[in-house]
Subunit: 190 residues, 2 copies
Amino acid sequence: MALEHAILVSLLEKPGSGYELARRFERSIGYFWTATHQQIYRVLKRMEGDGMLAVREVPQQGRPDKKEYSVAAPGRAALSQWLHEPVEPESLRHDLAVKIRGAAFDDPAALVREVERHRQAHADRLAHYLAGQVRDFTGPEAPAPLDAGQELQHVVLRGGIAYERMTIAWLDDVLATLHRLAERPPHARG
Amino acid sequence: MALEHAILVSLLEKPGSGYELARRFERSIGYFWTATHQQIYRVLKRMEGDGMLAVREVPQQGRPDKKEYSVAAPGRAALSQWLHEPVEPESLRHDLAVKIRGAAFDDPAALVREVERHRQAHADRLAHYLAGQVRDFTGPEAPAPLDAGQELQHVVLRGGIAYERMTIAWLDDVLATLHRLAERPPHARG
DNA sequence: TCCTCCTATGCAACGAGTTGCATAGGCAAG
DNA sequence: CTTGCCTATGCAACTCGTTGCATAGGAGGA
């Protein structure tokens, strides 16, 4: 399971509380692995019990105290072992593709709005990634030269950017197809 | 949950047994939604109990009898309703990206083989999709003109093709980055 | 003959992921 | 002063997904 490993990587990059991890999983790490706070708290507790993580109670002012987690030696070893094992190339899980095929048994034109909504969401994500790229890697505020960790974070971000661009282009293809089908004379429809 | 809906779409395209569905989920529908036979049998049973599907025992010769499922009226209504509801744009779940970021705390060069393996898997899938595209949609054996259902299947397949091409290009980027890091003098490493 | 693979269906156990809810102090807007 | 949002942690119930195993007849090769 990769949630444990994603947490190890994130805590090696910077120790933090369950709450902070949950926020990182809404951006950064979350670009390619999502998790809710409930899931994170549960796994943190288990990993602490397994000795993979160390905890430190941090009192705070004006806000609740937090438990700051960091990676212990066994956690680092577990991550290292996983890095040296092969993982399966993952498959897509794409609701929208199911809907598109399902539209053949319903009204294809009714999908246009839904597809446009998805296109907008992906365009927003792309803009967000591009801003992050300038801020952290290519802009004047970015460190230069980048260290190995930053180079690796950058190449992952480039993957996210490529994914969003590809998806937007495909959704345009989908929209063009839906419009073409809508303009067909009824006798030519499936 | 989209497995139910993927099953409805697949059974509308063509009725079949749990076993046949499982095979379709290894290709076709499975390009963008995966499921094992255990999962499929369990969901088929539940959907039958809910009245979404009709079953017919089909005796066979030289092989075990099968239960052929087809979509009943309530199933069709449930699919239609889902098609008219918005779904969330999905997020990626990418083990390999977690590994790449984790490599900063291990040996980046050790990842090269793993990335090459993934590249090969994606190249194989791409070749498979392209062959299917020629066979079913663009080649001399393909029906012409395509009906609406086939047009929609084709645009979904084009999405799969675009995804694999993008992924291969990104993995080449990853490999180039890993090689660049390996050639750095040690003092410049993170 | 034995071994393996293919069709075909299924149970049991577990781990992963989602949804809803609860607590509790501080802060800011109306 | 109440309403709602932010930080911070967590439980409970449920569904989804994976893994291992079981059954059983037929086909084909060593």
